[in-house]
Symmetry: C2
Subunit: 257 residues, 2 copies
C-alpha cells in the first residue's frame, strides 16, 4: 500500500530535503521517525529536493508499507520530530501515484524584506537597496514566453533537458514595502529559483535591462545570469497533483504559509 | 539631550530586556553597541522589562548624551547587533520625557497556535486541546471591571500597589483556528500577562468557570490563579506615549508585528 505524507519544514538547520552523507536532512529525520513508529525500515520519496536552508510550507512524500498504519501516526511523527518539522496529513493513494513523477507543478515563493526584521531573519532575505519593481515584473513576464532555462541551472546536473513550463512569475509588493516573488512551473532545475531571483534583483537595481534579461535566457549559459539569491528567502509553498491522488484524503488541505 | 530609540526583538535567545548578572539581555547588547558608536558609556532606560524568551514588536528606550548623533546611528546599531534585534528609529525628546514613566499604556499579544507550526515554534505557544473561546472572552471581559490584580503578580516584587487599568482584553480567533489574546493596560505586574493567559486557558478548557475566574481576581492571591503560560507566545507589541513625545520624530511609526 502506498501513502502520501503532507508536511512542512523550516529549512534553516537542515542540509535540505534530501539525505546527505555529511549533514542532517529533513528526509533522514522523517525516515528515522517513520521507521521507528512502523518498526520496519521505511523510505520516503519526496516531491523534489530543496537546498540547504530552503523552507517548505507544503511538501509531499510517499512511502510504501503492508502494515496497517496506527491512528496516531501523525501525532507520533510530530512528537518524534523537532519543532521545525511538521506532518499535517497522511492518506492512501493508488500504487502508481508517485510524489515526484505524478506532481504537475511546484510553486515557490521568495521573500525579500526591506528592513531588518527580527522575526523573519531566517525566513526572508534582507535587501535594503532601491528596486524598480515594475521593471522586475516586465522581466519576470519574459519567463512565461521561454521554455529552456539552462542559463539558470547549476552546471553539475544530470538532467536530460533544461525545459520547464513556467506559468506563474511575478513580484508582489506588500503594504510595508516587502516583496514576494511567486513562481510556478511543472519542474525546476537545480538552483533555478535562486538564480532567477538574483538576476531579477540585478534588473531591479538597473544593473541589467529587461532586454539583457531576455538575452540571458536565450544564451543558455549559467555564467551570464546573476548570483544566486540566498537560500533563507526561498520556500516551496505548494506541489500540485491530479485530483485523483486525493480521493482517499480525509482532511482538508493544509494552509500554505 | 535625551533621545528615544524605537526597537524590536525576538526574545528567544535573551534573558529578557533587563541587564542581568548571569545571561545576555537585549539592553546589554544595545548599550554595548550604542556606547561603542558614541565612544562613551551610554545607558538605556526601557519602557519596561520583558521576561526571558518574551518578544517585542515595539519597545522604546531612552538615553542621554551631549554628543551630536551621527546620521548613520540607526544603520550602525543594526549592523552591530545580531539579526534578532532591530532598531527602527531614534529621535530627540524633551528632557523630562521618560521611556518608562511617561508611557501611558503597554499593549501585549499572546499567540496560541493550534497545530505544530515549524515557522512559529518560538513565536507562539502550541496548544492543541479544545477551547471554549466565547467563555474565555466572557472571563476576559471581567478584567476591565477590576483594578487590583495581585492574584496574577509574581510574589517577589517590590511594587507599592497591584492596581492596573486594563482597557483592552479579548481573544481573537483567526481563520486557521489560531488565537491571539490582546491586552492593554497603563501598567502590568511581573508575570501578569502569562498568569492571565494560563488562567484563561483553564477557563477555556472548562477546568474553571467564568465565576471562578472572577473570584480568583477578588482573592488577591497568586496561588489561586493558573499556571503561567510559556514565554514564547508573549510579545510586547506597543507602548503608548503622549503625542508631545513624538514632536521631533521624523519618520512614521514602525509597523507592529
Amino acid at each position: 500500500m502506498r501513502y502520501f505524507l503532507e508536511l512542512a519544514y523550516r529549512g534553516t538547520h537542515y542540509h535540505g530535503w534530501q539525505r546527505q552523507p555529511n549533514g542532517i536532512s529533513v528526509q533522514e529525520v522523517l525516515e528515522n521517525a517513520l521507521s521507528t513508529i512502523l518498526r520496519e525500515p521505511t523510505a520516503l520519496v519526496g516531491s523534489g529536493r530543496t537546498d540547504t536552508g530552503v523552507h517548505a510550507g507544503q511538501q509531499f512524500a510517499h512511502f510504501d508499507t503492508d502494515l496497517t498504519l496506527p491512528d496516531t501516526l501523525i501525532r507520533s511523527l510530530n512528537g518524534m520530530t523537532p519543532s521545525d518539522i511538521a506532518v499535517y496529513d497522511c492518506f492512501p493513494v493508488a500504487p502508481d501515484d508517485h510524489a515526484r513523477f505524478t506532481a504537475t507543478y511546484r510553486y515557490y515563493q521568495y521573500q525579500l524584506c526591506r528592513r531588518k526584521d527580527p522575526f523573519r531573519a531566517d525566513l526572508a532575505y534582507q535587501f535594503v537597496f532601491p528596486l524598480d519593481v515594475p521593471r522586475m515584473n516586465e522581466a519576470a513576464a519574459l519567463l512565461l514566453k521561454h521554455t529552456d532555462f539552462e542559463s539558470f541551472s547549476k552546471v553539475k546536473t544530470d538532467v536530460k533537458t533544461f525545459n520547464c513550463r513556467i506559468d506563474v512569475a511575478y513580484w508582489e509588493q506588500h503594504p510595508n514595502g516587502d516583496l514576494t516573488f511567486h513562481v510556478r512551473a511543472d519542474r525546476f532545475l537545480r538552483g533555478m529559483v535562486r538564480a532567477l531571483v538574483g538576476t531579477l534583483l540585478a534588473v531591479g537595481q538597473g544593473r541589467l535591462s529587461v532586454a539583457d534579461f531576455g538575452s540571458i535566457i536565450d544564451a543558455r549559459d549559467r555564467k551570464r545570469a546573476g548570483r544566486a539569491a540566498p537560500a533563507e528567502g526561498l520556500s516551496l509553498v505548494g506541489v500540485g497533483y491530479p485530483d485523483s491522488v486525493f480521493t482517499q484524503r480525509t482532511t482538508g488541505p493544509a494552509q500554505a504559509f
